[in-house]
Structures are given as structure tokens and as C-alpha cells.
Amino acid sequence: MAIRNDERFAILKGRSRRLALIILSTFLGWYFLYVLAAAFARDVMAYRLFGNVNVALVSGLLQFVAVFVLAWRYTRHARAVLDPLAAQIVADAEERVDEAVHRRAAGSSAVSYGTAFGDERPYLGPTPPDGTTSYPGPTPPDGMVAYPGPTPPDGMPLTGGTR
């Protein structure tokens, strides 16, 4: 099963998109509210809160605070939720590759790294072991020629990338 067909990948994708959208809409909204206020609501911005400190200055400083807080929230969420999920998905995919490599060493048919990661062209053999379909898509698009060499193409990770 390829990563792209892994249910957890769909979850990861959904969560990461949602997080990005929330952060994006928050800061764009807050920032352009500030910019538009500076351009069109000058009376409000000129209102003095205490001493020489007015709404304009405080809202300017709040922009700084907002950037710091949003960056911190994003990072915290990514670390707590997205990173572990991604790591798990990759680790499982690698395990599948390892098993397949093992079987191959034991004399079974060739392995498709592509099937494990779902993100690369099929590695060698015509049929992968134990009936899993070799490529999730219809047919590999042209240009995706089977790689002739012994090493997987294009820096395919055997030890794996982390998120």
C-alpha cells in the first residue's frame, strides 16, 4: 500500500491544510484590518490611550505580538500533531519496503519501492510480491522509465526522511 493511499496520509493532509488555512486567514485578516484602519480610520488610530501612547502604536505592537503568537502556535501544533503522524506513516512505509527487500533477498520476485512510497517510479520487477498492486495510479506516466541501476532513483530514502 502506498503512502498516498494510506488513510492516515489523508488525515495528515487534511490537518495540515486546515492548520495552514487557519493561520493564513487569521494573520491576513488581522494585518489588513490594521492596514485599512491606518489608511481609512485615522480618527480611531489617533485616539490616545495614555500618555503619548495611542491606538495606532498599540495596534502596531499588537501586530508584532500576533506574528510571534501565530508562529508559536503553528510550530507547537506541527510538533505535537503533524510531525509524529508523518513520521509514523513514513516508518510504516519503510517497514513495508524492508520486508519486501527481505523477501527478494530470499529469492522472491523484484521489489517496487514505488509501491511502498507511492511517490516514485516502479523500481524493477514486473510483479511485486504477494499480490499487492504495483502502482496505485492507472499507468505510470511516460518518462517514468524503470530505473535500471541497483540504487533507487533520485535519492529515494531507504533510511527515510523525517518531516
Binding site: A2, I3, R4, F9, L12, K13, R17, A20, I23, L24, F27, Y31, F32, Y34, V35, A38, A39, F40, R42, M45, A46, R48, F50, G51, N52, V53, N54, A56, L57, G60, L61, Q63, F64, V67, F68, L70, A71, Y74, T75, A78, L82, D83, A86, V90, A93, F117, G118, D119, E120, G137, P140, P141, D154, G155, M156, P157, G160, G161, T162, R163
Partner: protein, 564 residues
Amino acid sequence: MTLAGAASLTGNGRAITFALFIAFVCVTLAITVWARMHTDGAVDFYAGGRKFSGPQNGLALAGDHMSAASFLGIAGIIALSGYDGLLYSVGFLVAWLPVLLLVELMRNTGRFTMADVLARRVRRQSSVRIAAAVSTVTVSVFSLIAQMVGAGALVTLLLGVRPGASFLGMSAGTAEVVTIVVVGALMTSYVTFGGMKGTTWVQIVKTALLMFGAALMTVLVLGRFGFDLSRLLGAAAGASGKGHAFLEPGLRYGRDVAGHSSRTLFDKLDFVSLALALVLGTAGLPHIVTRFYTVPDARAARTSVNWAIGLVGAFYLMTIALGFGATALVGRREILARDPAGNTAAPLLARELGRHVAGRIGGDVMLAFVASVTFATILAVVAGLVMASATSLAHDYFGNVLMLGRPRERQEVAVARFAAILVGAVAIVPAVFARHLNVAFLVALAFAMAASANLPAIVLSLFWRRFNATGMVAGIYGGLAASIVLVVFSPVVSGKVDPVTGQSLSLFPKGTDFHWFPLDNPGLVSIPFGFLCAVAGTFLRRGESDPDRYAELSVRSLTGAGAH
């Protein structure tokens, strides 16, 4: 750039400044030599071996972002226009949030450049690579020219070479040309020999110096006002001659023009346009993007952006104190008399602070220090820009177009070194000729181009299933062309006249007027236009879309599987 009078460094001060310049140049050249000895192969040259840690790369990212234009420029704008300078700096900071959202995805899917990310979506790469290289080089060269012209003017200003006077036997004009050529030659050698390793370390050293200088000055300024912000603001407003309007928006951006409601509206739209380009441009700037690849993985890339956000935020907070402090302690009139653009506000403030602490010599030392930090900033930023162009030319154009993706590594690195020299030369020549022109708008133009040409291609590649090669090419060229054409026919190039002095505020002298686009900043129109071209191009050749490659890219971008 007109230099009315100079920031008067004399005798001692000039000697100290010169010694500090030389010291910085020696240190950076030593770094370059070290980097040359430890650079072997493409990953080392383009990405510093991907061995920088998150915090190190964060310092370098912040350094790439903080040019002399932001150190002297923003402090100057605050000193002259008050609150609007703060408004400007907020845009630069907020721009880092889109970077934070994109950095991991781009780190996971690319190798050295933005084009690597785009190329994953298409079957035939050539046209996309060429488009990306064209936009990378255009954006970088425009910013380079702005930086180098600024460098020439600034250094002569800081060294106090007056028009008519001489320095080491050179007149002010010659000194400017010499500065431009020396800066150009130095940064080209950093890149040619040091590659990304050298450039990054130069950037790290510079950021450390800049942060230290700014922090020291901030503490001294606040100390003068008993660490009471309200008192500082009051003193600034008083010394500005503008009263409380100085602490409110509207002195520089989105000015109200009495009796001209359409001009007032255009002024305000122009400001919104600038804000949009600032916020969306950073994530598409080539010299920022190439930095994503100098760390081992996406997690480190995220850490580095977080560090950059912290540093840049702290820096702009400090410039608020410096700008208002300069008005309060030096006076708006004096700053204006030295340089109408306000670039000398920070150096003058430094001298005033030093003088207050340790008399005349203290003043000279502080001024000399700030002058050399500025010089270091210019060198490092210029080197970063040259690095980005050289990488794109060698990796995208030579390696993946001319050599069909199968260059010999040595060959490609040699081409990159040569490309650095080429880009340096291409930027030095126009900079020498443009040295008397007001080219400050080129920085804003570079941001607008990055936001209109590069950002649509990056964002749609990462998030739109149907996006294809035609869409990428159309978006890049469309956004690039739109921003350039709109600027050529905008008031910054022709037709803007100072209502008070009657002098031309445009690139062309008074009397030439062919502008029809009402805004200085093209972003408000060119960014949507870039996205529109990208979408239209995609629908033009629907058959090209390749959902399979999109699925592959999503897996890579989100999980880091197969990342370099």
C-alpha cells in the same frame, strides 16, 4: 541620490571607520578562504552541505532579509515620517508567516531552487526551469542594483566625502564608483570562492553585528528617557515639528490630499498595494528560498524560520526606538539636512549617543561602528543575492535545460562560479550608471515581482491538483511582465513632481511624463494578474495536468519521504 552635506566623519572617526571596514573585510575573506577549502561538489556549493543548524540558518535568513535599506531606511522613515515607518516595518515582519507556512513543504520537495519544486509537477521541465531562472535573475538583479547604488551613496555619505571634497585623493563621484566596484568585486569573490558556506557565515557574522549594534543603541536611547516609552514618543513628537500627527499614520503613506478625493483614494490604495507586495513577496524571493535548502531537513528549516521571525521582530521593535530616538535627540531638521531620504538618521543618532556617554571620541567610535555594520550589511545582502542568481543559472538553466538534467557535478559548480562573476558584472555596470538616480523603488519592485511571478507558481504547485506547465510558465511571465510594465508607466518612473519644491520625484527629470498607472506599487494589480495567468494557462492546456505527480508531490511535501 542627492547628498546635501555629509554626516561629517572627520579625522579620528574616519580612521576608525576605515579600520573597522578593513577588519570586517579581512574576517569575511578569511571565512571565504576557509569555505573554499571545505566546498566540494554541488551540495556544498549550493546548499552549504545542508549542514547548518536551524538557529544558524535562522541568523542567516534574518541577515538576508535585513538589508541596509531596512536598517538605515526604516529608522530613517520613522525619524522623518514618524508612525508610518512602523507601519512599513510591520509589513516586512508579517511577511514571515507565509514563509513559515511554506518552508517545510518547499524544503521537502526541492533540492536547491524554487524550480526544483515546480519541476516535480511537470513532464517536460525545460520551459518551467527557464521561466523560473528568468524570474529569479530578474528579481535578484533589480534588488542588486538598488543595493549597490545605495551602497555607493551610503559609504560616501558615511565617510563624509562631500561633493567637491576628496578622500584618499578621490572626489565624491570617484569614491562612489570605487565603492560600487569594490562592493561588487568583494561579494562576487565571496560567492565564487565561498559558495553557500562562505555566504552563510558572512551573513551570520553580519546579523550578529547588526543585532548587537541595534540593541546597544536601543538601550542607550531608552536610557536617555528613563526607559519610559511615552516620554520618548512625546519628545519625538515635540522635536518633529508635526506634533501628535507624528505618532499617527498618514504622514508618508496614504496621504490625504485636500480637495482631491481621487488622489487621496489612489494614495491609500497605493499603500494597500505596497502592504500586499511586502507580505506576499518575501516567500517568493529567490535568496530567501535558496536558504531553505542549507539545513538537513524540514524540521530544521522550520526552526530556522522561527529564529528569523524572532530576530527580525526584535530588530524592527528596536528600530522603532531608534527612529523616534533620532527625531527626539538629533532633530528632524538636522536629519533632513544631511540626507532627504533620512538614511543618516541611525548614524547621526549613534554619534549623538556616543558623544553623550564618552564625549567626542565616543561619538566617533559609535558612528564608525554603525557605518561599518552598514557596510557589512550591504556586502552580505549583495552576496546573498548573487548566490541566488548564480544557483538558478547554473542549476536550473545549465544543469537542467542545457545539459538535460545530466550535467557533470564539477561542470555545474564551475558554471555556478562563473555565473556569479557574470551576475556581479551585470549588476555593477548599471549600478555605476544609475548612481545618481533615485532607485529606491527597485526594492519595492523586487518584492512585487516575487509576489506576482514566483508566489503563484509555488502556491499552485503545492496546492492545486490541476496545475500544469503551461500554467506555471504563463503565471511566471505574466506576473513578471505585469509588475515591470505597471512600474514603467507609474509615477515612480515619470510624472511625479514635488508640490513644494517643484522638483521631479521620479526616475525621469521633470517634464517627461508618460505615466498612466496611478499607483507607485504594482502589487494590488500584478499579484492577482499573476495568479490569473497561472490559472488561465492551466485551463488552456487541460490535457497536460498530471494528478499523479500532484499526489506524489503531496506525499513528499507533507511526509518528507524522499527529501534531499
